[in-house]
Structure formats: C-alpha cells, structure tokens
C-alpha cells in the first residue's frame, strides 16, 4: 500500500478532538474529575480510504467515533466533513441542529453489539426505513422495497422485513445493522468493532460483506477494532490509540513493517500465533495499567514502557513524522530518529 | 308525661347523709379492689379542667372529679350540688347559694365561696380561652372584669365562707343551667397564680386535677386509659367502688371486650335488637335513656327554594321519619316534630303540633298547589327546571348516615334529585359556621341541650347554632320573654308557643330523638344513668362479684 500525496481535500478532518466524561461523586454530584476518554487526537480520512482505529479496550475508540459523528457533545477540537465544519469547540463554532440532522444522511455508524443496536420492539422493515423516511429519500412503499433489496444484498431474505430482531442470530443482526447504515447511501461509514461480538466463523462473513459494501458503494470508512491483525489487510491506514491519545499513525504496511512506538510494537507482538510453528519473541508488558480517569503524566504509556525515561514521565511527546505519512508520538523516536532506532 | 313540676323550689333538695368516716375505706377490705372499667370511644384530651374541656370524652372524666353548684335529677328537677340550698331575691336577679360546709378539695384544702367566686371571675377574663365564657356574661360586672378594668365581678358577693350571692344584669332564666349546673368549680388555691393565657399550657396542673368530686385522678395515659380512685373524703360518702378505669376502645370491638370481661360498662350510641339479644343472653343489663337531643336537617334559608315554608313542610311530609326510627334506630327513639323532646316540660303536647306523618302524595300536592312546582313523570319541576338539591352530612353516626340515604330515596319519590355528600364532622361544622349563602343547601346534624328550655342559640336570629339562619321576630320576642323568669311554670307556655311555631315554620326538618344505651355487667350494682347525668349517684355504685 503506497502512500498517496494529499492532493484532494480529505473527506473528514479531525483536529485536536477531546471528549471528557465528567466524574461526579457523592450525592451532591460534585464534579471531581474527568475521564479523559479522548484526549486530543487528530487525523484525516480521504475519500474512499479505509482508516483503521485500533487500541485496547477502553482506550476511547468508540468515544472518538461517536464524537466525530457529533453523537456525543465534544469537549474540544474541530471536525470538518466535506469541507463543512461540524464543530470547532475552540472557536465556539457549531453547525445547527437541523443541518446536523440533514448531514447525518451522509455519515453513518454500525455498532459493536448486534444485540443492543436494534430496537427490540420494531420490526426490521421499520428499522431499515426509519431513516429513509425521516430524510424523505423515498415514499413509504419504495422505502420498503429498497429495504428488501438491501437485505438481499446483505445476505438476508427479503421476508425478514416483517420479523423482529430477536428472531435473528448475532451475525444476521449485524447484517441488518450494516443494511440500516447503507440504506441512507452515506459517504462516510464508521464501523465500530463490527465483528468483536461474533463467532469466528461469522466474523469472516461479516468482514467479507463489509468489504464488499465498501467497494460497492465506494464508502469512506473509519474502521474501529481492538484487533490489529484484523485491520492489517483491511485498512489503508491505521491509527493506534492508547488511553485516549493517538500514539502512531501510518499506512498498514508502515505500521506492520516498522512499528515505531513501543506500544505498537507490544501490540503487534501480542497477536497470537497463526500457527504453532511461528516463533515469536514476545514483548510482555509489565507494570500498572492506568485508567482514563487517572492517566499518567507525560507519555501515557510510560508506566508500561520498558524504554521509559525520566522525560517520558514528565513531558507529553509531540507528533513526529518519522517518514512521510508515518506519524508517531514518542520521545524515543525523536531522540534517535528513523532507521537507527529500528 | 311532661315533666315541668318541681325543681323551681328555691330551697331545693334534701341534705344527704353527712359524709362521716362511714367506712375506713378499703384498708379493711383485704379483699379485692373494686374496679370498674368503662369504655370510652375516644381519648380524653388531658385538659382536666372543666372550664376548658369541650369534648364529651374529657367531660366524661371531669364529671367525676369536679362538681357544680347544683345538679338535676332524672326529671330535670334541681338538686343540690356543691350548694346545699339557695334562695332567689324578689327581683329574681340575685341568687344566694349556701354551700356545704364539709367539702374538701382532694388536696385537703377546704372548699369555700371564694372558690366559686374565683371560678366565675376566671371565666370572665378576656384571656380565658375555654369555650364557656358566655355562661357568665350575664353576671353584673362581667364587662369590667372581661376588659380587665375591674378585678372582681361586682355581681358577686361573698357573704361568708360558705355563702355567696350572684347577681345578674337581667333576670337570667338559664341561671341554673349555665351558672348553676354548667360551671364546674375549680380550686382557687390551685389556679390562682396561673396567668390565664398560659392555663392551657400548664400540663402539669391540668393533668393533676384537684376537685371535690367522688373520684380523684390517679393516672392519665393519653389514648390509653385514665384511672380514677375514690375520694374517701367525698362529702356524700366514700364511693363503694375503689377505682374507675376509663379506657379508650374501638367501637367496633368494644362489644367483644365487654363480653370477654375486659370491660364492665360501655355507653353506646346505637344498638340493634340482635346486639341487645347478645348482651342479654350473656346476662348483661342494657339500659337506655332518651336523650334531650334531636337529629335534624339544617336548611339554608338563603336558598330561594328552601326559604319557602311550603317547600319545607313538603319535605317534612316526604321524609319517612317513622321508617328511619323503626329501621335505623330499631324503634329506640321517636320521630321529632319540634325542638323539644316529648318528655321535656316545654313540649306543647302532641295535639298542639303537626306530626307531618309520612305522606309523599301530600308533599307533592303541597308543592304543586301551594308552592308552584310541577310534578311530572316522577320529576319535580320549578319553572321548567328539575329540582336538584344537595345534602351534606357528617360521618361517624351510622344511623344518621343511613338517614341521609333514606332521605335521598324519599326525595326521589317526590321527584327531587338529592345529591349526597359525606364529609367529616369537623368539615361540616366549619362549613356551617361560615354562614355563607351558597356553601350548602341541606345538612344533617344532631343537637343536644341540657335541662334548660332556652333555645335562642338554635333558633334565635344570629344564634350560634342557628345554622339555617332562620329569623322570626315573633320567635325572637318569645325567646327574650322566656328568659325573664326563673320559674319554669311561668316559662313553659312561652316555650310551648315557640315550639308550636317551630313545628309550623320548620327552621330545620326535625327528624328524630334517640336513645342512648348503657351496657352494664350485672356485677355492677346501683347504676342509674339518667338523661342528664351518666354518673348519677356514682358513689353508691358497687361491684358485687
């Protein structure tokens, strides 16, 4: 995967995004702190690109996805979609609620949990046509026909429109979730851990379907996953998060061939073997696992980093473009640049 | 048999046997204490001062502890109380009481005329917050004392330790009833130092009453029981019963307690023959007294429909009062047609009054011929509109509650749509006291009075119990005239005339008089409850196992 020079404007631009959840304590509900779920992340996605967002559980991937789509009130940062600013917290700029609702047509999300993402009291037809009707894309009857069509594309029978979510298996529900997002013919789609809750044999079905859809509808995609091995071949570029911050961004190739950040390295080495024959040198992380409510000062990873220096404990590392398109936030990289570190 | 004899003898009463140390009390009686257990449906309030207690349940206890100057017997004849005898002056304005000389307060102090004076002056004071100050308003000098410009009532003359003369501004016909019988005398030495405004807060004093009566308070447990022990020094003789315990009971379960021997005696407002059979089968004695009281339907005279006398008479005909008495009272009572009961001296006699015998046809006839109503297809119309009325009635008295529904049904028979509203007693009284034109139309209420015939408060213009707001100049004149004599013989014709007028005019619809029952365990002897006194001769009551 070669790195393309940025000529056209990216479809989605995220700059300095922050999302803190306040912690209330006691009955007086006094705010005693923040869970810094997303703490200053920046990236962009070009049209037609698939960006993978990886990181361990709780590192803020979902929160980032939701905040970008303006489903959560942002704490800071700026998001631009197709050149239109959704919000710019620092400049106190915000798109109107009405315009936002209109724009939702173009940016859709598929959720992690196939069991919780479908309203159990609605039948599939209603679920699939709800958004279409809201945006007045089709008349009721047409909308239903379109829904049936989509169901078939997604590998379900058209008669499913009369059924209710509980009558489907997890994999089938996930297909419905994808169909719902596709029904609006969006430009950007956020897939939040599409396969995490599914069985092994179903995972590949969904992954295949999703990829087909991306190609078919030429979608720009933000693909969220906790599993580096999944995103490896699926995504054009990968963004690795740790505790609310981006630690490394690059093309999949860059990241897998030359992981720069110690965390990325650990993550890569922790991927289980594909065959018993593989011989891997494991980087076993030690040390305390911090929480987003109380992140360590300096580099957030320093508590578990075997290379951590004094500086890492004090100073937040800045983004460094180690090679074109490969950005990493690590003091070590700064010190001994590029090749000599590798 | 009307009863307007006697009782006006100025020096009434016989001197009862002096209260010597007839009995050395129960000291000798190693045997069991004689305890009488009475049921009371509600708790006394703890205001054991007769000038403050305004509820039956406290009075029930105060009556054993405190006494008044005079009492009446079963026939409303005056009897000596604290006063042995009394005489009336020429102009009937001054009455001189000669007190018994051997009476002691239960703390040992002698009872004297000063206590009487103190009590009456106590009630005259502006800061007296009890409800009975009207009783003494007629005494000369009341206004000065009330406004605190004088210390003593000039109308009271303490002649000597045991003689006191009381003078009223006018002839005060209700003297015996209000001042003589109505005021329980309290001890000067107890209450003297207490500022009047604070009396109701002197719990300590209120709950440790010092009286002259046959019993002394021993223990008061609010909402549970009150224990009284005999006063060995009681001037009419040491009571035979050692102790009376008056305990709060649930009326629904009191019967069981009586039968279970947890109680010896209860007072019951209504009984049915089945109950009586149960009691009698169990060997209990069921006594009944016709009360000097009546149930009636208050009529708002400001209502255009109801202010019409023909309409009121038609209502009286329409209500099946005989039926109410027969079924709701099981015959223990009688239909009332005027304000006085048949046994009262002021009752004009059956012949003199209309009995409004149940007759719905007649009611309809009156309404359509005289009052301008139209009765059509079972509905009564006035000017083309069907007649609709509302009756409010208080909860708490089963017979009365039943009567309301009977009235509703009877009214339906003459085409009147009567709406019923059950309210709590206190709510009803507050509605009635507002004296508004339109806050009610009809209301059911009971009313009782003592041994005196004066009914100015009930039917006199502006009377405090005249909830109908009835006003009749002739009646008002007669009421004034009735007060000008102390002699019931002289007064009787006047009140009879009033009663006759009321029977015709119907300021309220008189419904019925009723009997109250006392159920007594056979082991309790000598009980003789009268219309006027529950504890008649209580010192002679005895318990024989």
């Amino acid at each position: 995967m070669e790195y393309k020079q940025a000529e056209e404007k990216p479809l989605l631009e995220v700059a300095g995004l922050k999302k803190y959840f306040p912690i209330y304590k006691g009955i007086l509900a006094k705010k005693t702190g923040d869970i810094k779920a997303v703490d200053d992340i920046s990236f962009h996605i070009r049209k037609g690109e698939i960006l993978g967002l990886v990181g361990e559980s709780g590192c803020g991937k979902s929160t980032a996805g939701r905040t970008i789509l303006n489903l959560l009130e942002p704490t800071g940062g700026k998001v631009t979609f197709e050149g239109e600013v959704l919000y710019d917290v620092e400049k106190k700029q915000k798109i109107t609620a009405n315009r936002m609702r209109q724009m939702r047509k173009d940016m859709q999300i598929v959720f992690q949990d196939p069991y919780a993402s479908l309203d159990p009291r609605m039948n599939i037809g209603t679920i699939l046509t709800e958004g279409v009707l809201k945006h007045k894309l089709y008349q009721k009857k047409e909308a239903l026909d379109k829904a049936k069509e989509l169901l078939e594309i997604c590998g379900l029978s058209a008669s499913a429109v009369h059924k209710y979510p509980h009558e489907f298996s997890g994999g089938q529900r996930q297909r419905i979730g994808i169909a719902r997002a596709l029904a609006l013919n969006p430009k950007l789609i956020v897939g939040d851990e599409l396969i995490a809750a599914l069985d092994v044999s179903i995972q590949s079905q969904i992954l295949t379907l999703f990829q087909e859809m991306i190609e078919k509808f030429s979608l720009t995609t933000l693909f969220i996953s906790h599993d580096l091995s999944v995103v490896r071949y699926f995504c054009d570029r990968i963004c690795v998060m740790y505790l609310g911050s981006v630690v490394e961004i690059g093309t999949s190739e860059q990241l897998f061939s030359q992981p720069l950040h110690p965390y990325t390295q650990a993550l890569l080495s922790a991927i289980p073997k594909t065959s018993p024959k593989d011989n891997k040198d494991r980087i076993i992380l030690t040390g305390e696992v911090p929480t987003a409510a109380n992140p360590p000062k300096g580099c957030k990873f320093h508590t578990r980093c075997q290379y951590a220096t004094k500086r890492c404990k004090q100073e937040v590392p800045q983004a460094i473009e180690a090679e074109p398109g490969h950005v990493v936030n690590c003091h070590l990289v700064e010190k001994r640049t590029g090749a000599d570190y590798l | 048999k009307t009863n307007n004899t006697g009782s006006t003898n100025n020096t009434g009463g016989t001197t009862t046997q002096p209260a010597g140390q007839t009995d050395t009390g129960n000291a000798s009686g190693e045997g069991k204490e004689k305890i009488l257990r009475l049921g009371n449906i509600s708790s006394p309030t703890g205001k054991f001062n007769p000038l403050y207690a305004n509820d039956d349940y406290t009075a029930y206890i105060n009556n054993l502890i405190f006494q008044s100057l005079v009492t009446v017997d079963a026939n409303a004849n005056l009897q000596p109380g604290l006063a042995e005898k009394w005489e009336v002056s020429e102009d009937s304005k001054t009455i001189t009481f000669h007190l018994f000389q051997n009476i002691k307060w239960t703390d040992g102090e002698p009872f004297t005329a000063e206590d009487v004076q103190f009590t009456l002056e106590f009630m005259s004071d502006k800061n007296y917050t009890g409800l009975n100050s009207t009783y003494v308003q007629q005494i000369v000098g009341f206004d000065e004392v009330h406004n605190q410009t004088a210390e003593h009532l000039s109308g009271i003359n303490v002649i000597d330790e045991y003689t006191i003369a009381i003078t009223t501004k006018e002839v005060y016909a209700s003297f015996y009833e209000k001042i003589g019988r109505g005021v329980g005398i309290i001890a000067k030495h107890v209450w003297e130092g207490v500022p009047l405004a604070e009396v109701e807060q002197r719990t300590e004093l209120l709950q440790n009453p010092i009286g002259t009566g046959p019993f002394k308070l021993q223990e008061y447990k609010a909402d549970q029981y009150t224990t009284l022990v005999k006063n060995p020094d009681y001037y009419e003789g040491t009571p035979k019963i050692d102790k009376i315990i008056i305990q709060v009971v649930n009326p629904d379960t009191a019967q069981a307690q009586l039968l279970n021997n947890e109680l010896d005696m209860i007072r019951v407002e209504s009984l049915n023959p089945d109950d009586i059979k149960i009691y009698e089968d169990a060997g209990f004695e069921v006594k009944s007294n016709l009360l000097n009281a009546y149930q009636h339907m208050v009529i708002n005279f400001n209502d255009p429909i109801l202010s019409n006398k023909d309409f009121r008479q038609a209502m009286a005909y329409a209500i099946n009062r005989e039926g109410i008495v027969a079924s709701l009272l099981y015959g223990y009572g009688n239909v009332a047609n005027t304000i006085y009961t048949k046994e009262f001296f002021a009752y004009p006699g059956d012949d003199a009054i209309n009995d409004y015998a149940y007759n719905p046809e007649k009611a309809i006839e009156i309404l359509s011929t005289k009052a301008g109503y139209e009765y059509k297809d079972g509905t009564l119309y006035k000017d083309g509109n069907p007649v609709k009325l509302t009756l409010i009635y208080p909860s708490g008295n089963k017979a009365r509650e039943g009567a309301a529904t009977v009235i509703q049904q009877n009214f339906k028979e003459i085409g009147i749509d009567l709406k019923l509203e059950l309210v709590e007693f206190a709510t009803l009284t507050s509605i009635l006291q507002e004296r508004k034109d339109d806050n009610f139309q009809l209301a059911l209420l009971g009313n009782g009075f003592g041994a005196d015939a004066d009914v100015a408060q009930n039917v006199g213009t502006g009377g405090s119990n005249n909830h109908s707001q009835y006003s009749n100049t002739k009646v008002d004149e007669l009421l004034v005239e009735g007060l000008t004599s102390l002699d019931n013989d002289t007064r009787a014709p006047i009140y009879k005339e009033i009663a006759t007028i009321l029977n015709d005019e119907l300021p309220v619809i008189y419904l019925y008089n009723w009997e109250r029952f006392t159920i007594v365990n056979p082991k309790v002897k000598n009980v003789n409850v009268t219309t006027y006194s529950f504890y008649e001769g209580v010192e002679t009551w005895d318990i024989v196992e």
């Binding site: 789509l69 | 309301a404 049904q409 059950l422």
Partner: protein
C-alpha cells in the same frame, strides 16, 4: 403452514411475551377473573335486579334468599347488587388512580432519565419528597379536609403513588438511553422527541404495564383502607371498601356474614388475580428474559 405464516409476519416481543403469558396458568387464571369481574361491573345494571341505592327498611339484614342472593344490608339494600356496583367503583378507583400515577410517573420519569442533569436532579428531589410522605396520614388528612368522594380518592391515590413508576421508568430510560439503538436513531437524524416517542417510551411500556397492574391492586386496597376509616368512597355509592367498612363491627362479623364475606372475598380475589396477572406479565415481559 403455520410456521411459514409466522415466519412471514415475524413475532414481536409482545407476541412472544403473550405466548409465554398464556403458558402461565396463574396469570391466565388472574386475567380470567379480572375480565369476569370487569364485565360483571360494566353490565351490573343488566345483571342486578335491584337498584343499588334503593332501600327497603322493612327488610334489613335479610340473610341470602331467592330474592336477595346475598341478602340485604342494614338499609335493606340488595347486597348482590351493591357488590356488582361496588366492583364498578373499586375497579375504576384502582384503574383511574393508577392511570394518574402512571401518567405522572412515566412523564416525569422519562423526562428525568432522558434529559438528566438539572431536570433529573429536580425531578428526583420531588420524588424523594413524595416518597417520604406517610401515605395513609396524608391520605386521611386530604380526604378529611377536602372531602372523600370517589374522585378525591382517585386523585389522592394517584398523586401519592406515582413515585414508584417514576423511579422505575427513570432507571429504565437511563439504561435505554445508553443502548446503541438509541444512538443509531440519533445517527439516522432523529430528534429527541421522535426518539423518546418511538424508541424510549415503547420500550418502557412493558415495565409500566407491569407496575401499573400492581398499582391497581394498591389503589383498590387504599380505597378499602380509607373506607374503613370512614374516608373512602361516600355512601350510598357502593364500593367494596365501604361495604366492608360498613361491616366492621364484630356483631356484623359474627351475625351477618353476607355483609362482609362477599365484599371481602371480592376484594381479595380481585387483588390476588391482579397480582397473579401482574407477576405473570412481569415474568413474560421481563427484559432480562428476552
């Protein structure tokens, strides 16, 4: 065949719940009884031979006979008739008071849960306040002061009992709000109003029904209790509560069984049935079991 049809139409959770409910014998029994009683109450005028308020003072305290199936009361009224009409009153007291509390509870609970923050804070404090009120004390005070007609009883019961439903709905909405399908609806461009209406409230519905069902029982019992204190539905209107209350003396208990056994049994069977049914509903529609 049947299976095919079902497949085409799909089975909503409601249908699944109903299916489960049908298997619950106690619940079916409860529902049957409730339906029978309700029908009897509705069609009282056609079933009863007498007028519930008409008295026959010559025939008081008649034991059951051919004319009077359940005898007559202290005013000679037909007890069976009054029982039917009493059912009307008692059931409607239960129903309407619960309706009031459900309306309040759902509205406030949904608002508190969905909007959170200050709205939630204020509503929850109000709930706290109402939760602390001693029910009977306030009820008798209000009934005594403002009178105790059937409407007042409904209002009192309704206004004092909404807190439970409010809290339950709030908790449910709080958890619903976190569900991904709500977020999905938002992502589709739905506004708050549509989300509450289409996604949140329908999903609290089962819960509200279950608790309301149990609330009806509570309403009927409260009316009976207030009647015992003389503050229930005003006579001559019959309610099971005041029929029972009228028979509270021990004399009645021992001599005139027909004055209290039928009314007592009616209350008891009704409440029991409602509870059976409510329990069944809860089991059948419990979200956890879905």
């Amino acid at each position: 065949m049947a299976e095919k049809k079902q497949q085409e139409n799909g089975t909503s959770l409601f249908k699944v719940g109903m299916k489960r409910l049908k298997k619950d014998k106690l619940a079916v029994f409860g529902l049957t009884v409730i339906i029978i009683f309700t029908l009897a109450a509705i069609f009282a005028p056609f079933i009863a031979k007498y007028d519930p308020a008409v008295q026959d003072l010559l025939n008081t305290y008649q034991p059951p006979s051919k004319e009077h199936w359940l005898g007559t009361d202290e005013l000679g009224r037909d007890v069976f008739t009054r029982l039917l009409y009493g059912g009307r009153v008692s059931l409607s007291v239960g129903l309407i008071s619960t309706g009031i509390s459900a309306l309040f509870g759902v509205f406030l609970g949904a608002a508190a849960g969905y909007f959170g923050k200050a709205v939630d804070g204020i509503i929850m404090r109000i709930t706290d306040i109402f939760m602390c009120f001693p029910f009977y004390v306030i009820a008798i005070t209000v009934a005594a002061i403002w009178g105790s007609g059937i409407w007042n009883i409904m209002l009192i019961s309704g206004f004092l009992n909404w807190t439970n439903i409010c809290r339950i709905v709030r908790a449910e909405v709080l958890s619903l709000r976190q569900r991904e399908y709500i977020e999905a609806a938002k992502a589709l461009g739905m506004n708050d109003f549509e989300i509450i209406l289409k996604h949140i409230l329908p999903n609290t519905f089962a819960l509200v029904i279950v608790y309301s069902t149990l609330g009806i029982a509570k309403g009927i019992l409260s009316e009976a209790g207030l009647s015992y204190l003389g503050l229930g539905v005003t006579p001559p209107q019959a309610s099971w509560g005041n029929m029972l209350a009228a028979a509270q003396s021990l004399r009645t208990l021992s001599l005139y069984w027909w004055l209290w056994i039928p009314a007592g049994t009616a209350v008891f069977i009704t409440i029991l049935s409602i509870n059976f049914f409510g329990d069944g509903l809860r089991d059948a529609f419990d979200a956890k079991m879905n």
